[in-house]
């Protein structure tokens, strides 16, 4: 069982939840501002100290003025779980979470190379892998995000939100781009970046598999 079992009570059972990044392209102050408060609040919540290297959510700065937070997508068929030789990564079927059992983890970092999103985190002091467990249902990152662009949502909610956002841009692309170049850019570049990441790391995984 995952170590944080008691903390999971906050999650409604049977519903898949994720931390979702939402930009509001028509509102320039509702896009990730790059303040990285989420990283520090995550590390405080989960390690008791401030350390962005130990945060399970990462704000990636793509270029000047373009930053996007990324974190675990709690996959249905997790790459990290498949890569783990110690069977230390398990899915909690009830809570629909992917969790690391710290006792079983030997710190080999196979999962770090396997994750298509690059968000498995390695604690180099403890020599253990770490990942987002949604803080048991009330993630610190969502709670403290000053721009309110992080939200906890189910799969189907998130698909709808993304669809609407995409449609809004198609409907009035010029206007959206004028008001929020970054918003438009994030939406255009993000899937590509993720695809590249996924391709690169699956290559790594296959090599490791041999």
């Amino acid at each position: 069982m995952p170590k944080t079992n008691s903390r999971m009570s906050g999650l409604r059972r049977g519903m898949k939840r994720r931390v979702l990044y939402l930009s509001q392209p028509d509102q320039a102050d509702r896009i990730c501002s790059g303040c990285e408060t989420c990283q520090l609040m995550c590390s405080l919540q989960n390690t008791g100290a401030f350390n962005p290297k130990k945060s399970r959510i990462k704000v990636v700065t793509l270029s000047v003025g373009v930053s996007v937070p990324v974190t675990c997508q709690q996959c249905e068929d997790p790459w990290c779980q498949r890569a783990c030789p110690e069977k230390a990564i398990a899915q909690d079927k009830k809570l629909n979470l992917v969790v690391v059992d710290e006792k079983k983890c030997t710190g080999c970092a196979a999962c770090i190379g396997a994750c298509p999103f690059g968000i498995m985190v390695y604690d180099s002091e403890k020599k253990k892998a770490m990942k987002c467990d949604l803080c048991g249902g009330d993630p610190a990152c969502v709670q403290y995000c000053p721009s309110k662009v992080l939200r906890l949502a189910g799969n189907y909610d998130s698909a709808e939100i993304r669809r609407r956002r995409f449609a809004a841009i198609l409907a009035n692309e010029d206007d959206a781009a004028r008001h929020s170049i970054a918003g438009a850019e994030q939406i255009k570049t993000l899937p590509k970046t993720m695809t590249q990441l996924a391709t690169q790391s699956s290559g790594l995984l296959m090599e490791r598999g041999k």
């Binding site: 102050d29 896009i31 303040c35 990285e36 590390s43 962005p52 270029s63 403290y144 721009s147």
Partner: protein, 643 residues
């Protein structure tokens, strides 16, 4: 369970670039709790290590970097680092403050302070990778712009998440208006020419990687203070326009008072409409971005979508716009591009803006001709002239070589009475708005310990307080009268200088803590919450009075540094223009000059409030001893410099 450790990293890193010696000292916690951090550490070490005999470009001069005490924690808007050195602009105490990641990374690497001394024989950069410190050859970086050097470092070190400090070509060439840039163009240690000090040490960059925890003692108290802070900024009417427009919003403040300082501080009124914050917001702004951990989000990056400067992306703040107006420029794309080249060449926009405005006035008055400028017409209002002369300053070409020394020194070279057009205090060029009509603001520019500066004090306090608050805090209801008030103004100035210094000790941003719509919000954020955050992170029990006292202590150390350099009351003065020439403008300050008698009376009250000698402006022994600075009092006594 992580071991309980406060927000200090615990070590001081000292690197001698001449002998290549690297030393690590333990940080004494008693020292830390007395001087808090940031500007407090920097000023104390500079006082102890850089005596009057050492000139700014002497290898024995120090360049000290000190992240604020709370930088690295999640305390809102705790993202400021201080750089301290003897300034090549003023020859006195010099410091710059910057946002960016680097300071937090330095602390994560284990150091609360980086002290640089000596000078490398050839271009060099530092690689601080946690415990490992290397002095490396920087031939491949020399000559590169700030962004290029930052990118090259990240690529060659194979880590995009490092923190960096770099200087641009201007710093390499010891341009006295050069700054030091943090993480590309994320933040700038802009004022007082510190980029030139780094250049004089042949140091192009400092790259840092750190992976340690920044501790916290009382998480619950921290969370509570955090929620209270969010509550205050959700109520404070100051915040929404800051989030909406960024610092460009200060345009409306300048318009309200008619204090633009346009065309080298002659005009209070100006055709500012093309530079309306709404224009920047709708046509150029990328998004509301922020410095590390800040919920206010007033930082802005801009992009020029089309036209001659199409594709330019840069960070820009209000002072860039203000200083372009000083040069009479009101073309928004020219302004953004000017910001871009200053960022790339590694220059301080405030120093450059005033220096170019000085040159433009000299050109207008015939003191500079096409012969000296090599055919470059320096007319007010011409963005291309501003941009071209800035480039020449950065590379010290032709007229740029003269102007690269700053307005005051350039005036000395030009001669013919050009000094009267150099708008500076203690050698540092002016910033912010025109002080005519607002006497306490005039005095605040004069008393700043690093030369003209609006961020050294917070004279804006007078705009917020009610007459009752004036009576309660500063002994007179007149303190609330912006234009006519006299009594209480000196006390208000001394208090607000101590008050904003707290932000520099803790690494808190002045826009997030030291600007507000009301005085009660201001005190709640700037003193109460700041103290609570410090206590929560470090397990201390400092009172608000003790925190203000720490601010006063640092301010007095800087003052003592300047006193030891020979500066007394005569240096606490503003340019003659403000006393003599009436402000031409449309606002409430129209037609005003700074009344010399009022200026002196406020200054007298200020010295009294500070416990300094009114006649000489020197510090009294009992004042320094009250602040726990007995050794400094003794040093000044030995030199005959006590008041």
């Amino acid at each position: 369970m992580a071991r309980k450790k406060g927000s200090y990293a615990g070590k001081i890193l000292r690197i001698d670039l001449s002998t290549r010696k690297v030393e690590k000292e333990e940080l004494d916690l008693a020292f830390a709790h007395k001087h808090i951090g940031g500007r407090g550490f920097g000023s104390r070490y500079l006082y102890d290590e850089v005596p009057p005999e050492v000139t700014p470009f002497d290898p024995a001069n120090r360049l000290i970097f000190t992240p604020g005490a709370l930088f690295g924690t999640a305390v809102p808007a705790a993202s400021r680092t201080t750089a301290t050195s003897k300034s090549p602009t003023t020859g006195m105490f010099g410091d710059g403050h910057s946002s960016g990641h680097w300071g937090a990374v330095l602390k994560a690497a284990g150091y609360d302070m980086l002290i640089l001394q000596g000078a490398a024989p050839q271009p060099t950069y530092l690689w601080i990778d946690n415990d490992k410190v290397e002095i490396r050859d920087a031939a491949h970086l020399w000559g590169k712009t700030t962004m290029e050097a930052d990118q090259a470092l990240r690529e060659s070190l194979g880590d995009r998440e490092i923190g960096t400090l770099v200087i641009g070509p201007a710093g390499e060439k010891k341009v006295r208006l050069a700054g030091i840039f943090s993480d590309g163009i994320m933040g700038t240690f802009a004022r007082t020419g510190l980029g030139a000090v780094m250049g004089s040490k042949n140091l192009k960059a400092v790259a840092t990687r750190g992976g340690r925890d920044i501790g916290i003692i009382d998480t619950e108290a921290f969370r509570k203070a955090y929620r209270d802070y969010l509550q205050v900024i959700s109520e404070d009417p100051y915040v929404p326009p800051a989030t909406k427009y960024g610092t460009c919003r200060f345009m409306y403040h300048r318009v309200k008072f008619g204090i633009h300082g346009a065309k080298n501080w002659r005009l209070g009124d100006f055709d500012w409409k093309p530079l309306d914050p709404e224009v920047f917001r709708s046509d150029y702004q990328i998004k509301a971005s922020s410095c590390p951990t800040c919920p206010v989000r007033c930082r802005r990056e801009y992009r020029i979508p089309s036209g001659k400067y199409a594709g330019t992306v840069t960070k820009m703040e209000w002072e860039t716009i203000a200083r372009c107006m000083t040069c009479g420029v009101n073309d928004p794309e020219g302004v953004i591009y000017f910001s871009h080249i200053c960022n790339q060449y590694g220059l301080d926009v405030e120093g450059i803006g005033d220096t170019v405005a000085f040159a433009m006035e000299c050109y207008e008055k015939g003191l500079l001709t096409d012969k000296e400028t090599e055919g470059l017409p320096l007319h007010f209002g011409d963005p291309e002239a501003l941009i071209e002369v800035t480039r020449r300053i950065a590379f010290r070409e032709g007229i740029g070589d003269i102007l690269a020394e700053g307005a005051l020194r350039a005036a000395g070279t030009i001669g013919k009475g050009a000094e009267q057009f150099a708008m500076q205090v203690k050698g540092a060029e002016m910033s912010a708005g025109d002080p005519r009509g607002m006497p306490v603001r005039a005095v605040s520019y004069a008393t700043s310990t690093r030369g003209s500066d609006h961020l050294r004090s917070n004279p804006y306090v007078e705009e917020l307080i009610t007459p009752e608050e004036g009576q309660q805090f500063f002994g007179s209801p007149e303190a609330a009268d912006i234009f006519q008030g006299l009594k209480g103004k000196g006390r208000l100035l001394a208090w607000s200088e101590n008050f904003v210094t707290i932000g520099d000790l803790l690494g808190l941003c002045k826009f997030a803590y030291y600007r507000s719509a009301t005085f009660s919000y201001l005190r709640e954020k700037g003193v109460e919450l700041a103290t609570r955050f410090y206590n929560a992170c470090n397990g201390t029990k400092l009172s608000e009075e003790e925190m203000l006292l720490a601010g006063e202590r640092s301010f007095n150390i800087e003052k003592a540094f300047n006193v030891r350099e020979g500066a007394g009351r005569e240096k606490d003065i503003i340019p003659e223009r403000f006393f003599k020439e009436r402000l031409v403008g449309g606002g409430p300050s129209h037609g005003a000059v700074v009344d010399r008698e009022k200026f002196d009376r406020i200054l007298d009250e200020y010295y009294q409030a500070r416990g300094w000698n009114e006649r000489t402006g020197l510090q009294k022994r009992e004042t320094l001893e009250r602040l726990g600075l007995r050794d400094i009092a003794q040093d000044l006594a030995n030199r005959g410099r006590l008041g």
